[in-house]
């Protein structure tokens, strides 16, 4: 018995005989496994071959083998699977882009101002209020740091005076 391209040399009649031998338990375990591989790639069909295939499917689980499914898939189906995979990759890349760029909203300025529950819709006024508030906050932040530095320096001088 042979595998791959060489199994094409076996005629349907020979395969049928081997299938019968298998069903009669006249083959060794090694021969049974080889026959299972040959039959899984063969298009010949007789009642004995079909029965042997069914029995082998239970015994060796050949019908569930992904490898054999893939080998027997027609070209169109392979192409469809590849297209589906490509689409998945495209969706993934799109999602990565959106997630890492957050919709790309950093390219345009967005300013929203709400004062006393009222939304300021006039853009110039909103810009002015927002700029003023930001400036105030940044000034306060600098002032906080300066105050802390000054206090730190004062304490250091006090400690130096104690030495």
């Amino acid at each position: 018995m042979s595998r791959g391209g060489e199994n094409m040399k076996l005629t349907g009649q020979e395969l049928d005989s081997l299938a019968r031998a298998y069903l009669d338990s006249r083959l060794t375990k090694q021969q049974e496994m080889e026959l299972a591989l040959v039959l899984s790639e063969s298009d010949f069909s007789t009642p004995a071959i079909e029965e042997a295939k069914a029995s082998m499917a239970l015994e060796f689980g050949l019908k569930d083998s992904d490898q054999h499914k893939w080998e027997r898939r027609p070209f169109g189906r392979k192409l469809r699977d590849l297209a589906a995979s490509a689409a998945c990759v495209a969706v993934l890349l799109g999602a990565v882009y959106v997630l890492t760029n957050h919709g790309g909203n950093a390219d345009t300025a967005v300013i929203e101002v709400v004062v006393d529950g009222r939304r300021i819709t006039e853009s110039d006024e909103a810009d002015l209020i927002a700029d003023r508030m930001e400036e105030e906050c940044m000034t306060l932040m600098r002032k906080t740091q300066e105050l802390a530095d000054r206090e730190n320096e004062r304490c250091r001088q006090l400690l130096d005076g104690l030495k």
Binding site: H102, E112, G117, I129, C137, L147
Partner: protein, 130 residues
């Protein structure tokens, strides 16, 4: 095919987790719709190279208490924090937090009278998704 899909979904989940916002506690106060009322001003500014949010309130001690808890929560993540009480009785807290090696500044200033200012600022707007 199922394996490919599983791999893609797993990758997507990993990227999503990596790409999430810093999840700062103070962000919560800016999402509160109930604060859009008299005595409260809210600013949102998102422009290239600058992201700034602030909230200013007058005579609102409850809000000060709420915000102070959030700021203290974020203080645990800060690599630098400065706390000062100035000559005018105003308390200052400044936090410098790093998220993905990018600096985020948080400032909170308040007086016992109930007046307060809170801001959140970074030069990297891309780290916040709004």
């Amino acid at each position: 095919m199922r394996r490919i899909l599983l791999f893609l979904i797993s990758t997507l989940i990993c990227v999503s987790v990596y790409a999430v916002t810093p999840g700062l506690a103070v962000e919560r106060v800016f999402e509160r719709r109930d604060l859009r009322k008299a005595g409260v001003s809210m600013i949102y500014k998102n422009e290239p190279g600058n992201y700034f949010r602030s909230i200013e309130a007058k005579k609102n001690p409850e809000l000060i208490k709420y915000v102070l808890n959030l700021v203290n929560e974020d203080k645990k993540r800060a690599y630098n924090s400065v706390e000062v009480l100035d000559d005018y009785g105003r308390s200052h807290i400044i936090l410098n937090i790093k998220h993905e090696k990018k600096l985020i500044n948080i400032g909170f200033f308040w007086k016992d009278s109930g007046n307060m200012k809170l801001f959140l600022q970074t030069d990297h707007p891309e780290i916040f998704s709004d």
